[in-house]
């Protein structure tokens, strides 16, 4: 039970943590010397980070403008350019809340590990259907410098009754079609890198569960 409890407490989102401790007077008095050292470090680091941030933003803006020019005349690609710019500029999608009535869903995993998975329950006892999963706003956000030792990839698997029925690679703005069923269908997202992955399943064809 101890281990399970630690696991649950370690998995909480900010909103869930507020629900659990929001009403508790959890003020901890800091060690004054440690606090002063912390403040000195934060004061020293902030201007450097601001300069780096401005440079990155500037480069991103230039790159977005170049790409927009390249894509002019091809209206079909404007969405992709917008998504690309969104990912470069670091916009985030909402956390996963399960599938909506129209069959769309968001997923947002702050810490997708090498083999960590995000499971999306698509349907229970669905008849044979084809799922088309299109992810917009797919973002591989570098969690820390020095972590990119391989190019980031993410794959999506369709499981039917616990077995892999189909899979595909997730690429920004591209559609993945997965086919399988009947049975209990699940979509699982796997990443090859430890990174923040954000995406929105914009369309799923077929019968979609809760």
């Amino acid at each position: 039970m101890d281990e399970r409890l630690t696991e649950v407490l370690d998995s909480l989102s900010p909103a869930e943590l507020d629900g659990l401790i929001g009403d508790l007077p959890l003020h901890e008095e800091p060690d004054r010397e440690a606090l002063e050292r912390l403040r000195a470090r934060v004061r020293g680091a902030r201007p450097r980070r601001r300069r780096g941030k401005r440079l990155r933003r500037g480069l991103a803006t230039v790159a977005a403008a170049v790409l927009a020019v390249v894509l002019l005349g091809n209206a079909g690609l404007f969405a992709t350019a917008a998504q690309w710019a969104q990912s470069v500029l670091g916009l985030e999608a909402a956390p996963i809340q399960g599938f909506r009535e129209d069959g769309t869903a968001d997923f947002h995993d702050r810490r997708v590990d090498d083999t960590a998975t995000r499971t999306l329950l698509v349907s229970e006892e669905t008849e044979g259907v084809e799922y088309r999963v299109e992810l917009s706003d797919l973002t591989f956000e570098e969690p820390r410098r020095g972590h990119w030792q391989t190019s980031p990839h993410a794959y999506i698997y369709l499981y039917v009754d616990g077995r892999t029925a189909d899979s595909g690679e997730l690429r920004e703005g591209q559609e993945v079609v997965l086919a399988g069923g009947p049975g209990t269908c699940l979509l699982v997202v796997v990443s090859t890198v430890r990174a923040e992955i954000t995406g929105t399943v914009t369309r799923i064809y077929g019968e979609v569960g809760p």
């Binding site: 900010p14 440690a34 912390l38 004061r43 902030r46 499971t119 499981y159 892999t164 796997v190």
Partner: protein
């Protein structure tokens, strides 16, 4: 100080805002980080490094901070937990990356159904935790997230050590029974 006031200060006068933010939350952030990095090979310096990273990350993400998704306190706790866990992983995981070919696929790690069940159990346990008496919730949070010993919890909460131990034990038992469906209280 309320979040809205603190946010306004951070945006308009970052230096003063960070002073207030650290004054109000450094103790808790130190607690969360220490809870994860309390044993060797991690040192006090590692803990201070990590805490500084937490506040800088929060500051860097200020433009995207959405109070509707959680309070400043909760966000700082979550960032602190994640950054501390990063350090533990980096220390023990060896190479950061493995290729997909070399890594076990989800099917080998457990069935998707199993994951869904675990997720449901987790949500149930969270619900049961919320139903506990506030003092019991505080004891469990201090014990399991801040890794504070009973003596420290007793000092913070104005209880005796035996009272802390008894309450923690009873709360865990209550949780266990409720999860097993043998306690509906």
């Amino acid at each position: 100080m309320e979040d809205a006031v603190l946010l306004k200060k951070l945006r308009h006068d970052p230096d003063a805002g960070m002073e207030l933010l650290t004054e109000q939350y450094a103790g808790l952030v130190f607690g969360v980080v220490r809870g994860k990095l309390r044993t060797p090979p991690f040192s006090g310096e590692d803990i201070e490094d990590c805490v500084a990273d937490v506040f800088l990350e929060f500051y860097d993400g200020l433009a995207r901070f959405d109070p509707a998704k959680g309070s400043i306190r909760a966000w700082l706790c979550i960032i602190a937990r994640n950054r501390a866990v990063d350090r533990v992983r980096r220390r023990y995981a060896g190479p950061d990356m493995v290729s997909l070919e070399d890594s076990p696929l989800p099917a080998e790690k457990g069935s998707p159904e199993g994951e869904v069940i675990r997720r449901e159990e987790r949500d149930r346990m969270l619900e049961e935790l919320r139903r506990l008496d506030p003092a019991d919730r505080e004891i469990l949070f201090r014990k399991y997230t801040l890794a504070q010993p009973s003596r420290e919890i007793a000092e913070r909460m104005g209880l005796t050590v035996s009272n802390v131990d008894t309450r923690a034990h009873r709360a865990i038992e209550k949780l266990r029974k409720r999860m097993e469906g043998t306690d509906n209280g």
